[in-house]
């Protein structure tokens, strides 16, 4: 049923585009990105490559598991390399209600203790990368709650038609929380994934560019394989590469617990 609605809407939008009529409004595009099938659970290798402005790179190989519990999203990351952080694991529970602080834990094997991480700002950087917790949570969605959108046109990104949206945070508190004063999103007009985004810091300086690439179907689900983030202020760079993606194995709920953090995979 859902699928048909999306197809219908896409069809209608496409007709609107062809006839040169007004572009779909941003809020409805945001809703579309939420409606996309992400698979209930997924297991994948996540390789993080962090490069500082002098070109020095840290590579961290992890296995990341994600599962939806209704609207609640749980993510656990097990670090495999480098050796000094092997066995470290990170668990987060993202609650759909923005008012409720997410829960996060980090297990440090050298300390043999699980540490609860403070309820961080949504705009805080995620584990030394250039993506914020909010960015990680949304992945290729664009927020339906935080911005006022304006659809300003259609452009090609990596050969695909994308709606170009200008986004301004709904109020100053939201802007401060997110760390962005302005955003610009390129959302694929066919598969409703964000392919590219640009953001500006609170003072209005260009902050970063996110580029999502290598999008192809895995087990019938449109899946990204690479995210490049360039921070324009710190000149720091982050590359996320996803490999061995598996939606089909049903991941047990037990993986997403504090015990699993300690026990590992």
């Amino acid at each position: 049923m859902k699928f048909n609605t999306i197809t219908m809407m896409a069809f209608l939008l496409a007709i609107g585009f062809v006839q040169g009529q007004s572009l779909p409004d941003g809020q409805s595009i945001a809703e579309q990105t939420y409606a996309r099938n992400e698979g209930n659970s997924v297991k994948r290798k996540l390789i993080m490559e962090l490069t500082d402005k002098r070109g020095k790179t840290r590579v961290r190989e992890t296995t990341a598991l994600r599962k939806y519990f209704g609207e609640e999203r749980r993510l656990i990351i097990f670090y495999e390399t480098p050796t000094s952080v092997k066995g470290t694991a990170f668990l987060t529970y993202d609650y759909p209600d923005a008012e409720v602080d997410d829960d996060q834990w980090l297990y440090l094997p050298a300390l043999r203790k699980t540490r609860r991480i403070s309820a961080s700002n949504r705009g805080d950087y995620f584990l030394g990368t250039d993506l914020t917790y909010e960015d990680i949570k949304l992945e290729t969605k664009i927020s339906r709650d935080d911005y006022n959108y304006k659809t300003i046109g259609i452009e090609q990104v990596d050969g695909q038609e994308c709606y170009v949206l200008e986004a301004t945070p709904k109020d100053e508190a939201t802007a401060k929380e997110l760390g962005y004063s302005k955003g610009k999103f390129w959302v694929d007009a066919n598969i409703w994934m964000m392919r590219k985004s640009e953001s500006w810091d609170i003072a209005g300086n260009p902050l970063k560019t996110v580029h999502v690439t290598d999008i192809r179907k895995v087990q019938g689900i449109w899946t990204l394989h690479r995210i490049d983030v360039q921070n324009h202020k710190t000149k720091h760079k982050t590359v996320f590469r996803f490999e061995d993606i598996d939606y089909s194995t049903d991941l047990s709920d037990d993986y997403f617990t504090e015990e699993a953090l300690v026990d590992g995979l």
């Binding site: 000094s84 980090l106 300390l111 540490r115 403070s118 300086n205």
Partner: protein, 775 residues
């Protein structure tokens, strides 16, 4: 033969005066069009040539760790700063700073921007010390407690008595030579920033550089016109005619304009001491004009019937030789600065000072006779006839009688000055302090004093730690070495505190152990330390440790805070630290190198003393050679340098007595004093030789003749130089001020020496050189 060639030359000049004047004007215009391109560089790094290995390494470290010389604002409230109002001000000021053009908004550090790291029952919390929206008395008290528990910020960000806190702001790289713009914006911001019970101070290395640019600009606007005025005044006194004032001034203008114009054309930066160059050139360049105009009016008085062309050619015939020799000796003085100075600002001072003097000579030989050709013969009231002499002439004759009667007394005094001078030279103190570039009443000096007394200071010594492999810094024995280094250097005088990655490791170790102070130590587990950083990155900023450790965790920077910018303090610290590093570091597994402003200072200021003495000796030798060659007599050469030698030794005594440091400005005095001061001796020896050997006068006759004519011209030459350099004493830049004072005194001693000691030696020793030439 030589005279004939000279005569032909000046005949040619006076016949082609129009094209020469046009060319002179064109050369001046072409040079000065570049002037607006002149850029100022007041950074302390400017004292080292770009290829200096220590500077190159310093820049690499700055680049690796993103270190800059910051603007520092101190907020002081005598009742303490841990209350909602004061903290609100800190927050407000920090936010306002972020919006100032040129300030890097990510590099503003204060209580409101820095993160607190605390351990809780269940984890570690990295969060701001306070939220500006939620400031209450109890929150403010909590911040106070947080600082008590945060070794790192105690004393560095907040004074130990809790009355002062700092906002530290770094500038964007693109503003490297525009610090004054940022400084001006901050100044304007603070000027309007009034809060009861709160005082605001602006200092720090970035502010010093920024303010210096503004400061030397204002100073130049004051001293340069003043020097011109003083010179004009002297010329009016000497000749009491319009051309006697205008023509030498045109030459001065050309000398200064062309020297600075070429500086701009070749892209040479304008440094703090360059500010003294125009005044120095004004004082020196005018001398040629004084001698030429003096001779011109004397001839006009003696031979009233001569045509203007005859007058001009005859004037130039008797003057070209002495002014060429004196210009060469002055250029030699400047050049010995070039050859002996390692520091670009001084070397360029020498180069362009030399160019200015050379320009003055060229204009004296070409432009002055040409300009005179535009005019009719004229008499000066100062030289009414060949036999009358004015008060200045009478004064000099009186001096001549005194010397003639008491030559021994004079020589004994001279010997006394020499002996005292050697003692003075031994007592000489090589020292420098950046903040001493300003008058002590300047707000920036007071701000610097407040910040240095309240906090751990803003003078930094950086020590770069290198290990061979990725994450090797995390090895506990390496961290312990760094910790021991910090504790050791902190015991040295004036070193108030330090920060390194070790402090963060210890803080995190404490935090993950429920904030138990017993865990404020380096854990013995390398993996744990790695994991701390991962833990920190879960809530902290990825760039938080950039200043202390590189991205591979292979290099670390230890920053020591020192509350003195004085070289003598810095020297002890750097030397003692080096001893420690030699004994404890520099093994195959860990290496340490000193850097930062403090190490850089010690590196270049240490060369000042040696550069100074080399420069003085080279100047003396060159002047000796030039004099000996031009008089074709070694005895004549040696005699010529006697007065300048005495003047330099006298200055050492003065410096010793008045406790004047041998510093950037003052270290140049000797070479210049020698090059300039020797002129009096050159003229004296030249004239006595002429009177005794060529005219065959008796000693007594020669004395009378010398003092009333040449002596009079030299008196004005001396007045122009002393008063010209004296103008520098009105400079608000203390180094220039002292430089001007020392050269003025040295010139005075040279003049008096040339007028007394030289004739006394001639009288007593009767050197063959003077007596037996033509007999």
């Amino acid at each position: 033969m030589k005279t004939k060639r000279a005569q032909a030359f000046f005949n040619w000049v006076t016949s082609h005066y129009k094209p020469i004047l046009i060319l002179s004007f064109a050369a001046f215009v072409v040079s000065v069009v570049s002037l607006p391109k002149l850029t100022k560089d007041t950074r302390y790094e400017a004292f080292l040539p770009p290829q200096d290995s220590v500077l190159i390494q310093r820049n690499a470290i700055k680049e690796t760790f993103g270190l800059k010389d910051p603007m520092v604002i101190a907020i002081k409230n005598d009742k303490g700063i841990f209350n909602p109002t004061s903290l609100g001000i800190v927050d407000d000021l920090s936010e306002k700073l972020k919006k100032i053009p040129g300030i890097d908004p990510d590099q503003v550090r204060s209580l409101s921007t820095e993160n607190n790291v605390v351990g809780t029952d269940f984890g570690i919390l990295v969060e701001p010390f306070f939220e500006s929206e939620e400031l209450t008395n109890s929150n403010a008290k909590a911040v106070s407690q947080a600082i008590d528990n945060f070794e790192l910020y105690k004393g560095s960000l907040v004074s130990k008595d809790k009355t002062t806190t700092l906002v530290i702001a770094e500038m964007l790289d693109s503003y490297d030579l525009k610090q004054h713009e940022v400084y001006n914006s901050l100044q304007a911001l603070l000027a309007d920033y009034q809060h009861d019970n709160h005082d605001f101070y602006l200092a720090g290395e970035g502010a010093v550089s920024g303010y210096l640019i503004k400061y030397i600009d204002e100073d130049a606007m004051r001293t340069n016109p003043f020097a011109g005025l003083v010179i004009a005044f002297i010329l009016i006194f000497a000749y009491r005619t319009v051309r006697g004032v205008v023509i030498p001034n045109l030459m001065v203008l050309a000398s200064v304009g062309i020297a600075l114009g070429l500086m701009a054309f070749f892209g040479v930066d304008f440094y703090v001491i360059t500010n003294g160059l125009p005044v120095v050139l004004i004082a020196i360049a005018v001398a040629d004009g004084i001698h030429i105009m003096g001779e011109y009016y004397e001839l006009a008085a003696k031979h009233p019937g001569l045509s203007q062309k005859e007058l001009v050619v005859n004037t130039m015939l008797s003057m070209w030789r002495p002014i060429t020799i004196t210009s060469i000796t002055t250029i030699a003085g400047f050049m010995s600065i070039v050859f002996s100075s390692y520091m670009p600002p001084m070397a360029f001072f020498g180069v362009f000072g030399g160019i200015g003097v050379a320009t003055a000579l060229v204009y004296a030989l070409f432009m002055i006779p040409s300009a005179l050709m535009l005019l009719k013969p004229q008499m000066s009231k100062a030289f009414e006839s060949a036999n009358t002499i004015d008060g200045f002439g009478k004064f000099m004759s009186g001096l001549g009688d005194f010397v003639y009667n008491r030559p021994r007394t004079i020589l004994v005094s001279a010997v006394l000055i020499v002996v005292l001078g050697f003692f003075g030279a031994l007592k000489l103190k090589v020292n420098e302090d950046r903040i001493a570039n300003f008058q002590s009443t300047e707000p920036i000096v007071q701000a610097d004093a407040v910040i240095n007394s309240k906090t751990e200071g803003t003078s930094y010594l950086d020590v770069l730690i290198e290990t061979p492999g990725t994450e090797d810094i995390f090895q506990p024995h390496n961290l312990k070495k760094i910790e021991a280094l910090q504790r050791h250097v902190e015991t040295l005088p004036k070193v108030q505190g330090s920060t390194s990655i070790v402090d963060f490791v210890k803080k995190m170790h404490q935090s993950v152990n429920e904030d138990n102070a017993e865990y404020y130590t380096i854990p013995d587990d390398e993996a744990l330390i790695s994991q701390f950083f991962l833990l920190y990155s879960a809530s902290g900023n990825p760039t938080d440790f950039d200043n202390y450790v590189d991205y591979d965790y292979r290099l670390a920077n230890v920053r020591f805070r020192i509350n003195s910018g004085e070289y003598l303090d810095e020297k002890i610290i750097v030397e003692k630290t080096q001893d420690y590093l030699d004994a404890n570091f520099n093994t195959p597994t860990i290496k340490a190198t000193q850097s930062g402003k403090v190490a850089l200072d010690v590196h270049w200021i240490g060369k000042l003393g040696q550069n100074h003495f080399t420069g003085a000796i080279v100047a003396l030798l060159v002047v000796l050679i030039v004099a000996a060659l031009s008089f074709r007599s070694m005895a004549g050469g040696v005699l010529t340098i006697v007065p300048v030698l005495i003047s330099v030794l006298f200055i050492y005594t003065v410096m010793g007595v008045l406790d004047i440091w041998l510093a950037v400005g003052t270290s140049m005095f000797a070479a210049i004093a020698i090059g300039v001061g020797v002129d009096f001796a050159v003229h004296t020896v030249d004239r006595f030789k002429y009177l005794l050997a060529e005219k065959g006068l008796s000693l007594q006759q020669a004395f009378q003749e010398f003092f009333k004519s040449a002596g009079r011209a030299l008196l004005f030459n001396f007045l122009a130089l002393t008063l010209g350099f004296g103008v520098l004493m009105t400079s608000a830049v203390p180094p220039l001020n002292r430089f001007g004072f020392l050269v003025a005194v040295a010139v005075m001693v040279s003049f008096i020496g040339s007028m007394t000691i030289l004739p006394a030696i001639i009288l007593l020793a009767k050197p063959k050189f003077f007596i037996t030439h033509k007999n």
